[in-house]
């Protein structure tokens, strides 16, 4: 369904992605992790066609996003939902108007009340019932992410992309967002692609983890194999993030990990 084939991308003299090939398992949650600046966000943007690779193909639902026309891109994008880092909500709209925005553009046959009902339902799902009328500027960071997520799921997409869902949040709110993602995963059962540097949350929610380092894909495994991987870079990353143990066996036995 979604596959990167030999994708390379540079910005000026900076090579961000080197020959990345990655097949995203459908219906499951895949996390892409790695240190800052390794091109995780860049990879996400390639998947949704906001960036085009210098070489390689990005296949989504049979369309190569790298060479697609605007019409083709739009057809594919309607099957995606994306949560941006700061929510990327429109400040001049209320919460409800933000969430119903995709419906207004892509589901013109829905009546106003049907749209409203759908929006309220999604807002309940993300844990923010009854804030349809609230102005966007009045939201906290955590609330913006929730509303952004509600907007991402309002068209009932087949894939949801998360760009660093925990960034800029305090630890309590961050845990709450992790719990929300877990709930969504269980409720919707669709493909999730999550970019993160929060290793604990990732290990809990992801079925598969791909690790990028210095533009290369250094590992791509189901989660339980990933945490036990005998790969120096992976182990360093896990150890650095979790601070405490030595060796992958210790990691697997940490509290908070299933």
């Amino acid at each position: 369904m979604i596959e990167l084939k030999n994708v390379s991308k540079s910005f000026g003299s900076n090579t961000i992605l080197r020959n990345i090939s990655l097949k995203i398992p459908p219906g499951q949650t895949t996390a892409i992790v790695g240190p800052s600046g390794t091109g995780k966000s860049v990879t996400l943007k390639h998947i949704v066609g906001l960036l085009r690779p210098d070489e390689g193909q990005v296949m989504c639902f049979g369309t190569d996003m790298a060479s697609a026309s605007e019409k083709e891109l739009f057809a594919v994008r309607r099957r995606f939902g994306m949560l941006f880092q700061d929510g990327a909500l429109f400040d001049s709209f209320s919460v409800g108007e933000n969430v119903s925005f995709p419906l207004e553009h892509h589901a013109p046959n829905m009546s106003r009340s049907e749209r409203r009902e759908r929006v309220e339902e999604k807002l309940r799902l993300v844990g923010l019932p009854g804030i349809y009328e609230r102005p966007t500027s009045a939201l906290s960071g955590g609330q913006r992410k929730r509303v952004g997520l509600a907007r991402a799921i309002v068209m009932e997409p087949e894939v949801i992309l998360f760009d660093e869902p925990n960034s800029g949040l305090d630890p309590i709110t961050s845990d709450a967002i992790d719990a929300l993602i877990q709930e969504m995963k269980e409720a919707l059962g669709i493909t999730f692609i999550i970019i993160s540097h929060d290793i604990v949350g990732t290990v809990n929610v992801a079925d598969h983890i791909a690790m990028l380092y210095d533009g290369n894909l250094v590992a791509f495994e189901p989660t339980d194999r990933f945490v036990r991987l005998d790969n120096e870079i992976v182990r360093k990353f896990l150890r650095r993030n979790l601070v405490l143990p030595e060796g992958p066996d210790e990691v697997a036995r940490l509290p908070g990990l299933k």
Partner: protein, 249 residues
Amino acid sequence: MTNFFAGLGRYGLWCIQFLRAVLTHGPPKGQTLHEAFRIGIKSLPILLIISAFVGTNLALQGYNAFKPLGGQRLVGMFVALAGVRELAPIIAAAMIAAKAGTEMASQIGVMRIREQVDALEVMAVNPLAFLVAPRLIGIVLMLPALTLIAIFVMMSAAYAVSVFQLGLAGHEFIQFASESIAPIDFFYGAIKAMFFGLIICTVSCYFGFHCGKGPEGVGTATNRAVVTSSVICIVLNYFVSELLYGGAL
């Protein structure tokens, strides 16, 4: 110098993209009139003030220029010609550049840096058709009206100065003024203004879309928008005037 032409080229390409987007998607219907009024109303107060004081100075300097030749009564003619043909469209355009242009550049710039433009694209909505088209239509609709208002205010202020400060005869002022302008001058003035509006809107939105990162990026984009659009309008003004008025009195 090469930078300048490269920039011009990029701007041209962007305009083509914009045209294509509008032709494919059409602008969002509901917002256009609303945008037009918003832009017009917001620009009105400063337009009034500036037109008034340009009118006053036109009268003062015109008087000074013609007095030694005994032609001070011709002030009405001078003000009418200079005001209607050249100054009113430029003033209206300058106000739009200063108020609406900077607003557009900074609004779109902020949206760009906060990934809202990306979000639009991901939600399969074309940002050019959605953000730029309504603003463009709004500006082009409002500018002729603003130009006419500028003309009226400018002439009134000039009249006031001529009669109350310089002691000229009011009816002569009006007579010379109305004799020197033809209805077509108003039409040309409106056309000029719309053309300027087109440039200001596209240039400001262009800089907004290509905004650099962070608050400095927004500041720079806004800065460049107002300077570039003003300069382009005034430079092109010569060619437009030559076309409309040159040798074809």
